[in-house]
């Protein structure tokens, strides 16, 4: 099957990543983009489109600088631009699918697509003297949750869906721990990972609860980070340094206004619709997928995507993981870079980058999935999400 009009990912890169790196948003964006251009063996003159999503997950520390795709392109020497976008979307999959769509529509041929994220306020900052002295208000829809102490996205995105999954399906805390342990094992083989020490189930159970049943180890790790992926046309894809990886299909879904706690179903929401759309756009089936990179802002989201994408039945993610399918050597290795819990919060971009590296076939060292030809990555949950199926051929 030769589809000459596909879009390909040809360059990937990360910035310096860590807690309070001291770099500004623009500096982080330029670092990641420069790394992606070097990875592709291209220069700014090869790029004519730019898209990014910038933000902070949660309360922003004061004095944060904002960046946008035009500004970053300027600093990189890219221009004039044929297309750009700095708008919102469901985390990194937003600018990823926007880039693919812009290329497919012919607005541009090569797009730099970025996610720049800054670390939110720390727990200590949230409990500071100035926080105590400043009245806190919930605005808009948040006025119906904030006065009840539903303040962290964790409570509505992680804890209540986890609790309901346990209540409906008999999922156990050990099931969640199985995933955390299996995912960390991949991180031990990834030099880009922040956490590389192996974990046991005992370690999981020793991790403190933040809001039951969510433990600290169920949460992605907040960092300053920028991630960049460069997409181009199939026609140009072979002109660059690395083996191109092709976008076989992609899909977005939005099922309600932006809310996590007030969805029609707190468990079965946009990923169900998104996955159905994704599979309708390809001849490939879930059984054809060699590895899956599933957003792990919180552990339960991996469960939701495993079920939504049809790798297991509804409610069966716990036993599926316990059987070892998602672990190293399993039938469907999941989050083979260690996930955002271990490489740091990148709001989905690490999953795209890991899918690309796995499908290149020679960049993942001991965590390489043998003969990987098809990878799916998925991002966000709740009222909005997106997913992309990628192939090496």
């Amino acid at each position: 099957m030769t589809k000459r009009d596909r879009v390909a990912a040809v360059g990937v890169g990360y910035s310096t990543t860590g807690r309070r790196t001291g770099f500004s948003s623009r500096q982080l964006a330029v670092q990641a983009s420069t790394a992606a251009m070097a990875d592709a063996g291209m220069g700014p003159q090869d790029i004519d489109g730019s898209t990014m999503l910038w933000g902070v997950a949660g309360q922003a520390p004061p004095g944060l600088d904002v960046s946008d795709s035009m500004d970053v392109a300027y600093s990189l020497g890219i221009g004039p631009l044929n297309w750009w976008n700095s708008g919102a979307g469901p985390a990194y999959v937003g600018p990823a699918i926007q880039a693919v769509a812009a290329i497919k529509a012919g607005f541009c041929h090569t797009v730099l697509s970025m996610r720049v994220i800054r670390q939110r306020m720390t727990s200590a900052e949230m409990l500071s003297e100035s926080a105590a002295a400043t009245p806190t208000y919930g605005e808009d829809d948040f006025q119906f949750v904030v006065p009840f102490g539903s303040i962290s996205p964790l409570q509505s995105i992680a804890s209540m869906p986890m609790q309901r999954h346990m209540a409906l399906y008999g999922t156990t805390e050990e099931h969640f721990g199985n995933h955390v342990v299996a995912q960390r094992h991949f991180a031990t083989m990834n030099d880009d990972a922040i956490f590389r020490e192996p974990l046991t189930l005992d370690d999981y159970f020793a991790s403190r609860y933040v809001s039951k049943p969510t433990r600290l180890l169920d949460c992605d790790y907040p960092v300053d980070s920028a991630s960049a992926v460069i997409y181009t046309t199939e026609e140009r894809a072979h002109d660059f340094a690395k083996k191109p990886v092709f976008v076989e299909a992609s899909a977005f879904s939005s099922v309600k206004y932006l809310t996590f706690e007030n969805l029609d179903d707190i468990l079965d929401n946009s990923p169900i619709h998104c996955a159905k759309t994704l599979w309708s756009r390809t001849d490939l089936k879930p059984a054809d997928v060699d590895c899956a990179q599933l957003y792990d802002g919180f552990t339960i989201i991996v469960f939701q995507w495993l079920e939504a994408l049809g790798f297991c039945g509804r409610g069966e993610a716990g036993p599926y993981i316990a059987e070892g399918h998602t672990a190293m050597g399993g039938s469907l290795p999941v989050n083979t870079d260690g996930g955002a819990c271990n490489v740091g919060r990148r709001h989905g971009a690490n999953f795209c980058i890991e899918a690309v590296r796995q499908l290149r076939g020679d960049e993942s060292g001991p965590r390489q999935v043998p003969d990987a030809k098809v990878a799916v990555w998925a991002n966000a949950v709740g009222s909005f999400s997106g997913a992309m199926l990628m192939t090496s051929e």
């Binding site: 727990s123 949230m126 409990l127 500071s128 003297e129 926080a131 105590a132 002295a133 009245p135 806190t136 208000y137 919930g138 605005e139 808009d140 829809d141 006025q143 119906f144 949750v145 904030v146 006065p147 009840f148 102490g149 539903s150 303040i151 962290s152 409570q155 509505s156 804890s159 209540m160 869906p161 609790q163 309901r164 209540a167 409906l168 403190r208 609860y209 933040v210 809001s211 039951k212 049943p213 969510t214 809310t259 706690e261 007030n262 029609d264 707190i266």
Partner: protein, 142 residues
């Protein structure tokens, strides 16, 4: 934290579309925006009925009875006000007034081991400040 200055509770910032909800709470009445054309309850409030597109909407008093849809016992304070209040229970309660009509709230007067999805609950009006009354819920009387 500064000695002697108690952190204030987190507050709603009502707008013209939502003011009725908080005014009702001060009177211990649970008011939900309702479509006068088709009867659908619209929460969170929106200026148009998402079922029939009518703009003829008005607050409707509903019984403060329902059941727990999902809950979490929060163990970490994310704001100074909660430092001496953890653990506390955040829950989504489905009201009897209409299937799918849900509120985020707190469950009080309930032991943790008694919490479960489907638990019948009733509203208990809780004054957290002289000008702020919140609809919390507790296990319903048998």
């Amino acid at each position: 934290m500064t000695e002697g200055i108690a952190p204030q509770p987190l507050r709603p910032l009502p707008n013209p579309l939502t003011q009725f909800f908080w005014d009702g709470a001060m009177e211990r009445r649970l008011l939900i925006l309702q479509c006068q054309n088709c009867g659908h309850h619209i929460h969170y409030p929106r200026p148009v009925c998402n079922r029939c597109r009518s703009t003829d909407l008005a607050p409707h008093e509903v019984a403060g009875k329902g059941s727990i849809y999902a809950y979490t016992v929060t163990m970490q304070a994310f704001h100074p006000y909660y430092v001496d209040k953890i653990p506390y229970v955040v829950a989504v309660v489905e009201l009897d007034a209409e299937p799918g009509l849900r509120l985020t709230t707190n469950i009080v007067e309930c032991e943790e081991e008694d919490l479960h999805t489907g638990l019948r609950v009733e509203v208990v009006w809780t004054e957290v400040a002289s000008d702020l009354v919140l609809p919390m819920f507790r296990p319903a009387a048998a």
